[in-house]
Each structure stands twice: as structure tokens, then as C-alpha cells.
């Protein structure tokens, strides 16, 4: 199996690895780099559990090969919180408002929400729902997720 060298930045840290060209970015992150916060829910680009930020944009990592990420600047859920002791406002609100149950969809939704709020710091409920319409959650029924994103937006605007 052919391999290539991949150099990329993830959560502010540089990585350089040799990787099989057919290896999915999700598997590279999870298995090669031990960043297991990004989850695999379907492997066909529908559920959004694998969502990461690629140069700031929400991308489904299961639909991309690791080699395609050469030179990219990625953020995964492990890079969301500002430090080991603080939480991102989104994480804080999800915690306060019961925006997660099993937590499997959560990393993908957090990053999707972060991308949304960067682009639209004051989204309506409808806009929030639409932005996470590509993230499946089987546990929560979405209500608390939408509220948590709304509240996080308010908290971030207030800063």
C-alpha cells in the first residue's frame, strides 16, 4: 500500500507522519495521533459525528483522506477548551443546560457550533437548527443543544 508524508497543524501543534494514502482523516486522527475525541458514526458523511474544523470551516473528516490534509490547519474537540482547567463557552453551556447525554455526537456538534458562531455571532433559533441539521443526535432531541448554542452566543457576545 502506498504511503505519503503528511505535515499538518492540529490544535496549534505540528504533526508529521507517514500515512497510507487510503487512510481516512478520521482514522488518522484517532488511531495514528490518539485524538479520539472525533467520532465515527456512519463513515458516509451523513451523521456529522466526525466533524472537525479545517482552516476554520466545519468539515466531515470521514469523507477526506489524511493525505488531503497535508498543510492544513485543523481543530478537533480536544482543541476547543482554552486550557485544561477552563471550558469554551459552548462547552460550559452544554454542561449547564444538559446539551448532551451519551456524548457521541457532541464533539461534532460543538465544532459545528463554533464555526457557526464565528460566522454568525447572533444566530436565531432557526439559524442554529439549520446549522446543526447535518449533525445527528439520537439521545437529546436537540432542544437543549439549540438552547445551549443560543446561550453560548449570548455569553460570547457579552465578553
Amino acid at each position: 500500500m502506498s504511503t505519503r508524508q503528511v505535515r499538518l497543524t492540529i490544535n496549534g501543534r505540528e504533526y508529521s507522519r507517514e500515512v497510507e494514502i487510503r487512510k481516512l482523516l478520521t482514522d488518522f486522527l484517532r488511531d495514528d495521533l490518539g485524538l479520539t475525541g472525533t467520532h465515527v458514526g456512519c463513515e458516509h458523511g451523513v451523521c456529522g459525528a466526525c466533524t472537525i474544523l479545517w482552516n476554520g470551516e466545519a468539515v466531515r473528516s470521514c469523507l477526506v483522506f489524511a493525505v488531503q490534509a497535508n498543510g492544513a490547519n485543523l481543530k478537533t474537540v480536544e482543541g476547543l477548551a482554552p486550557s485544561a482547567t477552563e471550558l469554551h463557552p459552548l462547552q460550559k453551556k452544554f454542561w449547564e443546560l444538559h446539551g448532551l447525554q451519551c456524548g457521541f455526537c457532541t464533539p461534532g456538534i460543538l465544532l459545528t457550533a463554533e464555526a457557526l458562531l464565528k460566522e454568525n455571532p447572533d444566530p436565531s433559533e432557526e439559524e442554529i437548527r439549520e446549522s446543526i441539521s447535518g449533525n445527528l443526535c439520537r439521545c437529546t432531541g436537540y432542544q437543549n443543544i439549540v438552547t445551549a448554542i443560543r446561550e453560548a452566543a449570548k455569553a460570547m457576545a457579552a465578553k
Binding site: E20, R22, K23, R30, D31, G34, L35, T36, G37, T38, H39, V40, G41, C42, E43, H44, V46, C47, A49, T76, V77, E78, L80, A81, L87, Q91, F94, W95, E96, H98, L100, Q101, C102, G103, F104, C105, T106, P107, L110, I128, R129, E130, I132, S133, G134, N135, L136, C137, R138, C139, T140, G141, Y142, Q143, N144, I145, V146
Partner: protein, 774 residues
């Protein structure tokens, strides 16, 4: 401040939010290799030959197992829902002579990576001899239908009846008899995390460790021990973080034997993670039931009798749940109504499809749909308001507790509640009268606006017992070892609240350990909304014993009578003399063996308790849906929704609401979107999320009222709680079907309420039946 009843933030969340949770696919063992399962591509076939030569030669392949490599392979037993006869169609972990559904496991490949294992799957040559396929339960029972299992004639391994009162006499006394056929479609739990296991065998010590088991850990521990011929003390099951269960995850599946077996056979730690297309073929499906039902009523709407025949579509094999969805449906078909004459004849039928198990509110979501739709149909016929029909027949408060009568598999007594009062409140809260007039006005304008009601009684807190051990460690922290499991529902937080209140400590000083057989010796797991009821009550019992020990130790240390001592903030304090006090850590030190034995005291602060009960508490409630249906496209929009449920007592209201909301989302999926469709050759058509549609944030109702009450705690456990896991889904199919029927002026008789079905009902299109249909 009491923790019970307050919206405590979950202890589980921080690691999940940071992405540092450990789900089974996140576990890496040194030297770990990967398994992939070769699954049948035929719905029904004889296995003529399996040739693994080419596959075995592929570089990176460690080995391949077929049934021939596992002599003495046992069938996977039923752990519940055992109806006589069902044992004849159980499944072996690998198919031996025949395959009975697309997805039936035929071989296991173990290779250096999952990628290589999947490469190897493609090189395995299986010669199948195709056999006749049957995908419809009716067809399957007919003489001459292809037979799935040698010893099961007519593909009907079991049949049972419920018979209460005198149905025939009651029909003779009825003014109106209505007969109808209803069906609910195949759909299932489909949690966002697929199944997976990591198994590692320490040959030197003869110790097997398996990460991944959940839901019924101790039951599965026993089954695995029996199947491997390894004592339980040599097997260690560890529950990781789990991505949802809803009934389907955590049962003993073929892979639960195969992966541990392979790890022993190949002497390598093995990881197996199911991919989604496998999951949609291999994880338990559910919900497919067909009813032919007859109801007899008086002119004024009083229900005299209910008589039905039900076909329970089991798929290709009997699995661990046996006939549970059928038994449960048969037990709750009458709902919260006074129906003294009831007869049901249930056939459990095999078909060439994925085998079934339970899914949240198993059998009850189906039965609620059937009964509530039937009631509306009767109401329309008698020109009664559907709410009035329900009022007339609803069990009254003064009739509680209400014995549901003779049943072959259980004896259910509805414990507490005031169904009519809750019903009136629900109608008032959604402004039912106004909705009726809005609906009439809208229809005049050509808009299909409708309101629908679904009432339910849910089962919860199944026994027979649960285990807890509470311990105070040497730092004064409290640890609860519980026999329940976490599928993501927040049980560790709820149990912490209970223990923290009993022992008057900060919730931050309570840890809950579950799902680990080396730390928890007994358990009955987490299913059927039992955890807070059973594990919670056992935790109460163990905590109270620990409290006694703490008081005893403090009493000896302080030389004060235990009656003059009380617990506060992690300390034992003397009444009226606050400076006379011992912290839990101090007492733990006094309980160390060196000191304790000298005092003639049993060392340690650790107490076990079992809470046993064979009587279930029954939460109950109402779903009311308001929909608008686009008459041109058949698409249903849910404008407003109300769910009310009395759960006796809420340990954590936030968690309870989350359960109801999550259940509602699934209920909407089941009513409008989700279906496992099979073609006439038994080929599954919904094998990805492109075809199996799960509700997104856009499908939820525009406004939702969620009312969970604590009006009638149950006397059946010390907490007074009823399990809140299933009320949110329970009558969603019923309410939505009634709302759609009301909106369009039709009588829906099946789920799902897909656009082409609704258009067919209003006569806009004619659908040629060319596929197997629910």
C-alpha cells in the same frame, strides 16, 4: 440543600465535552489487531462451501475463523421473554449450515488493521445455494412457505394467548363492533455509536478482559463464561463510555462470543468496531407488528371488549429478548382504559430479515398506536369527540391500584395515578378546544390542520433485584458500586444525588462505579427504565447501612450515643455540641484493620444491599400532537406538541426532561421517517443514513410543552420513583397518527406516515404494492 429534585449538572459531562471520554473504539492495547465479519449477502441460503485460502494468504491477515473452526459452538440463549418454542430458532455465533438474513455472520477475519481485514473479506469465497425467501409474516406462516429452521413448522416457533373476562358475551352486548387491521413498521434503536468490543487474553494467567459490554454486563458475563468454558472469575468485562443503547445495545450478540473467542484463539488483543452499514443489518431491529383487532362498544362509547390477533415479526432467529416486544404489547394493549374483556392471540413468526430485540417502549409504542388509532376510529363512527371517548373509559383514580388481570407471563397491577386529572390538564394546557375549532376553520380554507391524542401507561423499574455496595474510603470519599450500567443516560449523576443525600456529603465526594465485573460482583443492568428505581433503591439501602456504621464508629470514638449523632457535610456531629465531631476520613482511619480488629469491630466502612421487587411502578401520560399536512406533497409538519408524564418523583428534573425529549425525537422518527425496508429477495434497502432517516434538529416540533409531574409517587420503592426512560417515545406514533388522520379526514392504519402513504389515503395517488411492506 437536597440533591434529589435539583437540576444538578452531570458528572459524566466534562470528559465527554472535552473529547476525553473513552468509548470502546478509543481503547488501544499493545499488539492489538482488528477483526471484520463476513456477513451473508443472501437472505436465505444453504452454505455449501467456504474457501478462505486466498484471504488467509493476504499479507497482514492473521487468521480466519468459520464455524468449522469452532466445534461445540452453542446457540445464544434467551435471557428474557422466553415463550416455549422460541428456543428452536436460536442463533449460533457463526452460521453453520444455513444463513437466514442478509448480515448473518459467516466468518471472522483478523488482520493487522481494519482496512486489511476488509480487504480480506472480499477474498473469501462462499458458495451459497439460494433458498426461498420470505419477508412477510403472513406469507411466512402459510403452508408451503420456505422453512427457516428445521424444527419450526410454519416458521411459527411460538404462539400465546391472553384471555381476560368474557369477550364473546361482551361483543353480544355491544351496540357497535368495529374491526380493523393495523401495522407498525420495522425500525430500531440505531444509536449513534455502532457496536464494538476489544478483547484481550492473558495466556499466562488465563485471564480474559473484554471492553465494550454494557446494558446487561453481569448477564453477559455469565453467558460468555458458559460459551467459552472459562470461569467467570477468569473473565473481566469493562464498560467504557457508551454512545446510546435504547434497548438494542448490550445484548449478547454473535460478536460478543466471536471476538473474545478469537482473542484467545489467535493470542492477540482484538478490536472489532462495527461500521454503520453492518450496524443497520446486524443490530437488533424491532417494532414490526401486525394486528387484526376488533372492538365492541356501547352507543355512548363505553368499551365492552377488545379482541385481536397479532403477528410479531421476529426476523431470522430468536435472540436474547425472546418474545419480549410481543409480551409487552400484549400486556399494555388496553392502555389506561377500563377494558374488562380482552383477548389477544399472538404469533411469533420468523422471516428472512435481521433478528429483533427491544427498542425503547418495546411492543408498547406499537400497541399504543393500534389502540389509540382504534379509539379515534370508534369516536368518529359514534360521532363522539375522541377526548370524550377517552374520558368515558379511562381508569379512575378511585380504581387504583388497578389489576390488569390474568396474563400468561406477568401480573401487572397499575400502582398509582390519576389518569383523568392528568388528561384534563393536558387538554387544557394545549388548549384542545381552540385547536379543534382552528382545525375546522383551516379545513374550510383547504388546509389540513389536525390534533391527535395518544394516552399511555408505561412499564418501568423491572426487577427482580439490584445490587449496591457503598464504601467510604480513607480520604472520606464515598464510592457506590452499582449493578446497573450507563448507556449515556446520566445514571451516575442520579445515583450520586441519591447517595449524597443519604450520607449528607457533597456530590463531588461521591463516585459511582458500574459495568466492571471485577469491581461489581452482581447486577441486573440497565434496561426497561429500571435503573433509578432498582439501582437507586439498592443504593439507598446500602447507604443507610453505611450511615449506621459511621454512627457506630463515631459513637465509640466520641463516647456519645448514636441517637445523639447525625450526619452533616461529610462529618458525624453531636447534636447540640458541634465541636464534638468526626469526619468521614477520620472514621475510615478508625476502621482500618489494625485499629478496628483491636476494638472488635469489622474493619472498613463498606456495606452491600440488594433491593428486590417483582412489582413494577407504572408511569403514565399523554401525548398531544398538532400537525399540518401538505395535501400536495403528503409531508407532515409538527406545529405543536405536548407530552405529560407522571414519574412519581424526579431525582434530577433536567435528566428526566432530557429523557422525555430524546424519546420524543425517536418517536417522531418512528412515526414519520424511519423504516427498514426489504425487497422480495430479503435484501435490505436501508443500509445507510441516506435511506434510514433519523430526525435532525429540523424535524422537531416548532413548540413543545414537556410536563413531567410528581403527583403520585409509588409505594413500591423507598424513593417513590418510576422510571422515566420511555414515556417520551411511548405514544408519539399514536398521537401523530391521530393528528394526521384528523388533519386529512382519513383513518390511518399503519406507520410510518410517509408522504406516499398519506397521498394514497387522500386519493391523490395510487401505490402499486411491489415491495414487502409492514
Amino acid at each position: 440543600m437536597a440533591y434529589i429534585g435539583s437540576r444538578v449538572k452531570r458528572k459524566e459531562d466534562l470528559r465527554l465535552l472535552r473529547g476525553t471520554g473513552k468509548y470502546v473504539a478509543d481503547i488501544h492495547r499493545v499488539g492489538m489487531v482488528h477483526a471484520a465479519i463476513l456477513r451473508s449477502t443472501y437472505a436465505h441460503a444453504r452454505i455449501v462451501k467456504i474457501d478462505t485460502t486466498a484471504a488467509t494468504k493476504l499479507p497482514g491477515v492473521i487468521g480466519i475463523l468459520t464455524a468449522a473452526d469452532i466445534p461445540g459452538m452453542k446457540t445464544i440463549p434467551m435471557r428474557t421473554g422466553h415463550i416455549d418454542g422460541l428456543e428452536r430458532s436460536q442463533q449460533t455465533p457463526l452460521a453453520t449450515t444455513a444463513v437466514r438474513y442478509v448480515g448473518d455472520p459467516v466468518a471472522v477475519v483478523v488482520a493487522e488493521s481494519r482496512y486489511l481485514a476488509e480487504d480480506a473479506l472480499e477474498l473469501i469465497e462462499v458458495e451459497y445455494e439460494a433458498l426461498g425467501v420470505v419477508t412477510d409474516a403472513h406469507e411466512s406462516m402459510r403452508a408451503g412457505a420456505p422453512q427457516l429452521h428445521e424444527t419450526v413448522p410454519n416458521n411459527t416457533p411460538a404462539n400465546f394467548q391472553v384471555n381476560v373476562g368474557d369477550v364473546d358475551a361482551a361483543f353480544r352486548n355491544s351496540d357497535l363492533i368495529l374491526e380493523e387491521e393495523f401495522s407498525t413498521q420495522r425500525h430500531a434503536a440505531v444509536p449513534l455509536e455502532t457496536r464494538g468490543l476489544v478483547a484481550e487474553f492473558d495466556e499466562g494467567r488465563g485471564q480474559l478482559t473484554v471492553w465494550g459490554p454494557t446494558k446487561m454486563t453481569h448477564t453477559n458475563w455469565s453467558i460468555l463464561s458458559d460459551h467459552l468454558g472459562l470461569p467467570q472469575s477468569s473473565i473481566h468485562l469493562i464498560e467504557p463510555d457508551v454512545g446510546g443503547g435504547f434497548g438494542a445495545r448490550g445484548e449478547f450478540y454473535p460478536e460478543d462470543f466471536l471476538i473474545p473467542f478469537a482473542s484467545i484463539h489467535f493470542s492477540r488483543p482484538i478490536c472489532w468496531i462495527e461500521d454503520r452499514s453492518e450496524n443497520l443489518k446486524a443490530m437488533n431491529q424491532s417494532r414490526q407488528q401486525k394486528y387484526q383487532i376488533k372492538i365492541g362498544v356501547k352507543k355512548d362509547g363505553t368499551i365492552m371488549a377488545l379482541d385481536a390477533e397479532m403477528l410479531f415479526d421476529m426476523g431470522g432467529y430468536t435472540r436474547t429478548h425472546g418474545g419480549t416486544p410481543a409480551i409487552s404489547a400484549s400486556s399494555i394493549l388496553r392502555g389506561p382504559y377500563r377494558i374488562k374483556n380482552y383477548r389477544l392471540n399472538v404469533f411469533c413468526v420468523l422471516t428472512n430479515k435481521t433478528p429483533v430485540g427491544t427498542y425503547r417502549s418495546p411492543g408498547r409504542y406499537e400497541a399504543n398506536f393500534v389502540r389509540e388509532r382504534l379509539l379515534d376510529t370508534v369516536a368518529h363512527r359514534l360521532e363522539l369527540d375522541p377526548a370524550d371517548l377517552r374520558r368515558r373509559n379511562m381508569i379512575r383514580h378511585d380504581e387504583m391500584p388497578y389489576d390488569l388481570g390474568k396474563h400468561p407471563f406477568n401480573s401487572w397491577v397499575l400502582d398509582t395515578g390519576d389518569y383523568p386529572a392528568q388528561f384534563e390538564n393536558a387538554l387544557a394546557r394545549i388548549n384542545y378546544e381552540k385547536l379543534k375549532s382552528d382545525s375546522a376553520a383551516a379545513k374550510k380554507e383547504g388546509r389540513a390542520l389536525g390534533v391527535g391524542i395518544g394516552c399511555f401507561v408505561e412499564s418501568s423499574g423491572i426487577g427482580p433485584w439490584e445490587y449496591a455496595r457503598v464504601e467510604v474510603d480513607n480520604t472520606g470519599q464515598v464510592i457506590l458500586y452499582s449493578g446497573c450500567n450507563s448507556l449515556g443516560q446520566g445514571i451516575a449523576t442520579a445515583l450520586s444525588q441519591i447517595v449524597a443525600d443519604e450520607l449528607q456529603v457533597s456530590i463531588d465526594d461521591v463516585r459511582v462505579i458500574h459495568g466492571d465485573t471485577a469491581k461489581v460482583p452482581y447486577g441486573n443492568g440497565s434496561n426497561a427504565s429500571r435503573s433509578v428505581v432498582m439501582a437507586g433503591s439498592a443504593a439507598v439501602g446500602a447507604s443507610r447501612k453505611v450511615k449506621e456504621k459511621l454512627l457506630q464508629l463515631a459513637s465509640a470514638a466520641l463516647e456519645i450515643e448514636p441517637g445523639d449523632l447525625f450526619l452533616r457535610d461529610g462529618r458525624v456531629v453531636a447534636r447540640g455540641v458541634p465541636e464534638r465531631t468526626q469526619g468521614f476520613a477520620d472514621l475510615a482511619r478508625l476502621a482500618l484493620p489494625g485499629t478496628a480488629l483491636k476494638q472488635g469491630v469489622t474493619p472498613g466502612i463498606s456495606e452491600e444491599d440488594f433491593f428486590a421487587s417483582d412489582k413494577r411502578p407504572f408511569p403514565y401520560g399523554v401525548h398531544i400532537a398538532v400537525v399540518e399536512v401538505d395535501r400536495a406533497t403528503g409531508i407532515v409538519k409538527i406545529l405543536d406538541y405536548l407530552v405529560t408524564e407522571d414519574v412519581g418523583r424526579k431525582i434530577n428534573p433536567m435528566i428526566v426532561e432530557g429523557q422525555v425529549m430524546g424519546g420524543l425525537a425517536q418517536g417522531i422518527g418512528g412515526a414519520l421517517l424511519e423504516e427498514f425496508v426489504y425487497d422480495n429477495d430479503g435484501q435490505p434497502q436501508a443500509t445507510s443514513f441516506m435511506d434510514y432517516l433519523i430526525p435532525t434538529a429540523m424535524e422537531m416540533p416548532k413548540t413543545i410543552q414537556l410536563i413531567s409531574t410528581e403527583d403520585f409517587p409509588t409505594p413500591l420503592n423507598p424513593l417513590g420513583v418510576k422510571g422515566a426512560g420511555e414515556g417520551g417515545i411511548s405514544a408519539a406514533g399514536a398521537a401523530l397518527a391521530n393528528a394526521v388522520s384528523n388533519a386529512l379526514g382519513v383513518e390511518v392504519t399503519k406507520l410510518p406516515l410517509k408522504p406516499d402513504y398519506l397521498l394514497e389515503l387522500i386519493g391523490r395517488i395510487k401505490v402499486e404494492s411491489h415491495q414487502e411492506n409492514a
